[in-house]
């Protein structure tokens, strides 16, 4: 059982894929009882309002399942687009890269130090 889950999005998200991710992730969180989820979107270059909302939704869902979510590695262009779309992702924690995100999770969580993170690539 790992403390953190790492989700790396390495292809352009299309709507169906986002839905699958949402399903998989929530299942995985409840299965593993992870305390923290890192969503790495550094490879994501194009977002639309739907994907923006999915990111927001996924992190809200993880929070409901008692896992802190940190979105890491957002590209400048993506950030600008989301802001222009009015999706400011309130309540979602963010970090510049995976390392900083991990540090943030460790800081905010009172869990025993553990390094064997579960890794799931999409």
């Amino acid at each position: 059982m790992g403390d953190f889950l790492l989700v790396t999005i390495q292809v352009d998200m299309h709507d169906r894929l986002a839905m699958t991710l949402q399903d998989d992730l929530t299942t995985k969180i409840s299965q593993t009882g992870a305390f923290g989820v890192l969503i790495d979107i550094s490879a994501l270059e194009i977002v639309d309002s739907f994907i923006g909302r999915m990111i927001s939704n996924i992190s809200s869902m993880s929070r409901v399942l008692d896992a802190q979510t940190v979105v890491v590695g957002m590209q400048p262009a993506v950030a600008i687009t989301l802001v222009e779309l009015g999706l400011t992702l309130p309540g979602v924690k963010t970090a510049l890269d995976v390392e900083k995100g991990m540090a943030l999770l460790r800081e905010t969580m009172v869990v025993p130090e553990s390094d064997d993170d579960d890794r799931q690539d999409i």
Binding site: V71, V78, A79, V83, T94, G101
Partner: protein
């Protein structure tokens, strides 16, 4: 009939026959009106006038004095373009540029008068024709002049935009963006992009936006600032806004702008102190104060 074929031919004849006198008179006329002495040499001016006169004469040869869009006028217009653009760049005033064409009227009318001294209807008709065509050419000169000016202004604006958005690194992981001048949509876009790009490049987690040099903050500017802050937050960097002057603080509150949970500081140094604290760094004196 005013403006008839006779008038057109008369105009051509008069111009053709008196080229030398026209040129001399015209140059003299212009030299007396141009206020910036030495801005243009008499020889250069003579050259310009001479070229124009040649082009003008060949353009009106076939009696087309009404439609400037036809091919006969192409060369004339192109030459005027050139003259007007150079004058605009050399800093001539609009009226001085327009004078180039309008000062041609007097010598031309004199020449017409001399040629048709005995024929009043022909004189009237030719005068009318020449006035119409010269006015149109004059207006065209003004159009080109303004267009050149606008190009210069646009270029300067672009230069300013590039110059005025430096992102500087204050310490490891701390960036500062001193904004100087009014923030409009286009500039905010540039500011936002360069800040976010630098955040990625340097891996900084704290960015200080210093608005000491922003003269006024209205709702639009505040909104732009908030957008930048939010975008930076989405990427995982915190923004601190500093350099808010008392008047601006008043304006922001009076406008009802909600800066939300953005950290604001009065001065850049206090913002820097907060940033250092966040990063777990301090500044200490290594020598006792003298």
């Amino acid at each position: 009939m005013i403006g008839g074929e006779a008038g057109k031919m008369a105009l051509y004849q008069a111009t053709q026959d008196n080229t030398k006198e026209l040129l001399a008179e015209w140059v003299k006329e212009q030299m007396s009106t141009i206020s910036k002495q030495g801005a243009i040499k008499e020889a250069d001016l003579r050259d310009q006038c001479d070229t124009f006169l040649h082009l003008f004469t060949s353009a009106i040869r076939h009696g087309n004095t009404t439609d400037l869009r036809t091919s006969e006028w192409d060369a004339v217009l192109r030459y005027l373009n050139e003259i007007s653009a150079t004058r605009s760049e050399q800093g001539f005033s609009p009226s001085e540029t327009a004078t180039f064409i309008f000062s041609f009227k007097k010598p031309l009318f004199t020449a017409l008068g001399k040629t048709y001294a005995s024929d009043a209807p022909a004189l009237a008709s030719a005068t009318w024709e020449s006035t119409a065509i010269l006015d149109r050419l004059g207006l065209y000169t003004m159009d080109v002049f303004l267009k050149t000016r606008e190009t210069i202004i646009a270029r300067q604006q672009e230069d300013m935009m590039e110059l005025s958005t430096p992102v500087v690194s204050l310490a490891e992981g701390i960036l500062a963006l001193p904004v100087i001048g009014t923030l409009d949509s286009a500039r905010t876009q540039v500011v936002m992009e360069s800040l976010l790009q630098r955040i990625v490049d340097t891996g900084s987690t704290v960015a200080i936006i210093d608005i000491t040099g922003v003269p006024t903050v209205d709702t639009l500017v505040a909104q732009h600032l908030l957008k930048t802050v939010t975008a930076a937050r989405l990427m995982g960097a915190d923004c601190i806004i500093s350099g808010i002057r008392p008047q601006i603080a008043q304006t922001i509150v009076h406008l009802g702008v909600d800066l939300g949970d953005v950290i604001t500081k009065a001065t850049l140094s206090s913002a820097f102190a907060v940033a250092l604290q966040r990063k777990g760094m301090t500044i200490s004196r290594i020598k006792a104060q003298a």
